[in-house]
């Protein structure tokens, strides 16, 4: 017998969400239909599982709740909605001070990059659109994104200056207060925060540095940071989830676990810095600058429009996000590389790998930033290799990457993919040569021996046989 009741109606009946008009009919059907009756029983069973009451030993403890609330209040006072009554709020002065500090931080970076690139006294829009040394301020207070792959959050009452002696080296001088730094893990050789005699050095990670009352606290949320003290001559490595306390006067260093409440707070702060705010955020090259000017696209409105797109992505509505990004691309001329990267991300999240690859290709064409191009090429190669299984094409692209980026951030992984392709195609000699080149570049790579063992198992007489691609 064919059912005229859908599975959805059966579940809605079970959850008490069915309209009155439908309820009686569906109930009657479920009572007489074996298949729908089984669906209903299963739905009831999972509902009972989900609706189980809390265990008895987790009953509400009023004293513990009060203590938690007091700890929360001590850790951070509520932020009032000043926009509704701007002039009546006592926090206005605080906000104004924060704004001045943010402006000072931005201005100091602006000045630093201006000196380096010769872009003196550019108006903000032009500075944003200038190449390489440009900076970009996000819409959020006190967050500064620069160089597309590194973001800095300057907390209120903090003072920091930035210099960049080399393309992949950034120095921050923290005079006082707190900064949070989120830098792409692989694209920087050195991210250093100096606090007098104490310096925290990382090669790209998520960490915060707090300089108050003669003490420096380095908290690491992701990656590893090395803290040096020139006063004591000591140094210590601080891993993910740890903090290091450095005494400004004696230079003594001590490490420990980050308290849970601080960890949670920092993790949440970093959520606003990345991955959505910083990874591919936007200074422009000269061509893009020209195009932005010619189309009279207002950076502020483009930024606002893109913030809405990012909001949709954050919600996880990737299909809606694709539509929003395509709309953005048709209406705005700024930051197309960023938009294409996000488009590729949305396609990847929904398993549409061919479309993702296409979007990455467009991102490469749209960008003038070598670091972004490198990152995007690596992602494309990964998709070609691991998701689409187009090994011949992947091999060509991987060889292109290895030739184009002698100091590339993903060389190790690219070598890994290349060796896997050669092993799968039983190209013994070529695989051996690749492993040799790989080891010459990465002498301590732990996978080399494993690769050699796999090569040794290949028959000696097998050569490069066209068409013998690995089976996925």
């Amino acid at each position: 017998m064919k059912c005229n009741v859908t599975e959805r109606q059966v579940y809605l009946l079970c959850d008490g969400l069915l309209d009155k008009e439908q309820r009686a009919a569906v109930e009657a059907h479920v009572a007489g239909c074996e298949r729908c009756g089984r669906v209903y029983r299963e739905a009831r069973a999972t509902l009972a599982l989900l609706k189980r009451p809390a265990p008895a030993d987790s009953c509400f403890d009023a004293a513990a709740a009060r203590a938690s609330i007091e700890r929360g209040l001590a850790a951070g006072s509520p932020a009032p909605r000043v926009l509704e009554f701007p002039l009546k709020k006592p926090s206005l002065r605080f906000l104004a001070a924060a704004a001045v500090l943010v402006f000072a931080a931005v201005a100091s970076m602006y000045y630093a990059f201006g000196l380096q690139t010769g872009n003196h006294a550019l108006p903000p829009a032009a500075a944003r659109a200038s190449q390489d040394g440009a900076i970009f301020t996000s819409t959020r207070d006190s967050i500064v994104v620069f160089d597309r792959m590194c973001a800095l959050k300057v907390c209120p009452n903090s003072s920091v200056s930035i210099s960049r002696p080399e393309r992949r080296v950034v120095h921050f001088d923290l005079a006082r207060g707190i900064v949070l730094i989120a830098a792409h893990k692989r694209l920087y050789d050195t991210i250093a925060v100096r606090c007098g005699a104490v310096t925290a050095v990382a090669t790209g990670t998520h960490f915060s540095v707090d300089r108050t009352n003669g003490e420096v606290r380095v908290s690491v949320i992701e990656g590893t940071v090395t803290v040096h003290s020139s006063a004591s001559g000591g140094q210590t490595a601080v891993s993910c989830g740890e903090l290091c306390l450095a005494d400004g006067a004696s230079g003594s260093l001590s490490t420990g676990r980050i308290p849970r409440s601080l960890h949670m707070q920092l993790a949440e702060d970093f959520e606003t810095l990345g991955p959505w705010a910083f990874p591919l955020a936007p200074p422009r090259g000269p061509d893009a600058h020209q195009s932005a000017r010619s189309s009279a696209d207002d950076p502020a409105s483009a930024q606002q429009a893109y913030a809405a797109v990012r909001h949709i992505i954050r919600r996880g509505d990737y299909d809606d996000a694709v539509v929003a990004i395509v709309n953005y691309l048709s209406r705005h001329s700024l930051d197309h590389d960023v938009a294409y990267c996000d488009l590729a991300l949305c396609y990847s999240k929904t398993g549409r790998w061919e479309s993702a690859l296409d979007a990455y290709g467009k991102a490469v064409a749209a960008t003038n930033d070598s670091l972004v191009r490198e990152a995007v090429l690596h992602r494309s190669n990964s998709i070609l290799f691991s998701k689409l299984g187009r090994y011949r094409e992947a091999e060509q692209e991987i060889r292109g990457y290895l030739a184009s980026y002698p100091l590339g951030a993903w060389r190790e992984r690219e070598y890994g993919m290349l060796v896997k392709i050669e092993l799968a195609q039983k190209r013994r000699d070529e695989a051996a040569r690749t492993v040799e080149a790989y080891q010459a570049e990465f002498p301590v790579a732990c996978t080399v021996e494993e690769m050699r063992a796999q090569i040794a198992q290949l028959p000696r007489d097998s050569g490069n046989k066209a068409g013998r691609l690995p089976v996925r």
Binding site: S58, I69, S261, E268
Partner: protein
């Protein structure tokens, strides 16, 4: 004026304007609900306490963002379920890195709710892990409805989705949970 004599909407208004005492009372008035939701999902008293602490901190920091478009409790449900799943994910990661995952389940079960059968608890954990894997918005809606007992109307106001869209999400989620439990052979226990 004594904050304790104010209605919830007054407490919310005062808290939004920076009144710490009102915020203290507001949080305390909702502490039972926050604990209840966290305990229903985690079934672990220690994690429940951690979640309450984290929710309190978030509310303290974000109370200015509460626009009043929906009930305060619904806004709080949403924060609570989000924090709960964040804490659960961290706990899972912690158990993996510390090797706690290798400890026989019976040993871990000893210090947890005794009245719960191991099978049933394992099945519930499986269901929670399936919910964890849902897209964020679906997870929020699903948890608000089944764990926090929020009404369809309140969820619609809070999330900006239509009631029909919410019903669709609930149905898809429920069917997913049922199918996955069946696939793993756990439905027979029910």
């Amino acid at each position: 004026m004594n904050a304790g004599s104010l209605s919830e909407s007054d407490l919310v208004a005062k808290s939004r304007s920076g009144d710490t005492q009102a915020l203290r009372e507001l949080l305390f008035a909702n502490a039972g609900m926050i604990n209840g939701v966290a305990a229903r999902i985690t079934r672990n008293p220690q994690l429940t306490q951690d979640i309450f602490q984290e929710v309190a901190m978030r509310v303290i920091r974000k109370i200015g963002d509460f626009k009043g478009h929906c009930k305060f409790s619904t806004w709080l449900y949403r924060i609570t379920v989000n924090v709960t799943f964040t804490v659960l994910a961290r706990e899972t990661e912690h158990r993996k890195t510390t090797g706690l995952d290798d400890v026989p389940e019976q040993v871990l079960a000893d210090d947890q709710a005794i009245e719960e059968s191991i099978d049933r608890r394992r099945m519930f954990e499986k269901a929670v892990s399936i919910i964890e894997g849902m897209p964020e918005i679906s997870r929020e809606i699903f948890s608000m409805f089944y764990f926090a007992d929020a009404s369809l109307e309140d969820i619609a106001k809070q999330t900006g989705k239509s009631e029909n869209a919410i019903k669709a999400i609930l149905f898809k989620g429920r069917r997913l949970v049922t199918k996955q439990l069946k696939k793993s052979g756990m439905m027979e226990v029910l």
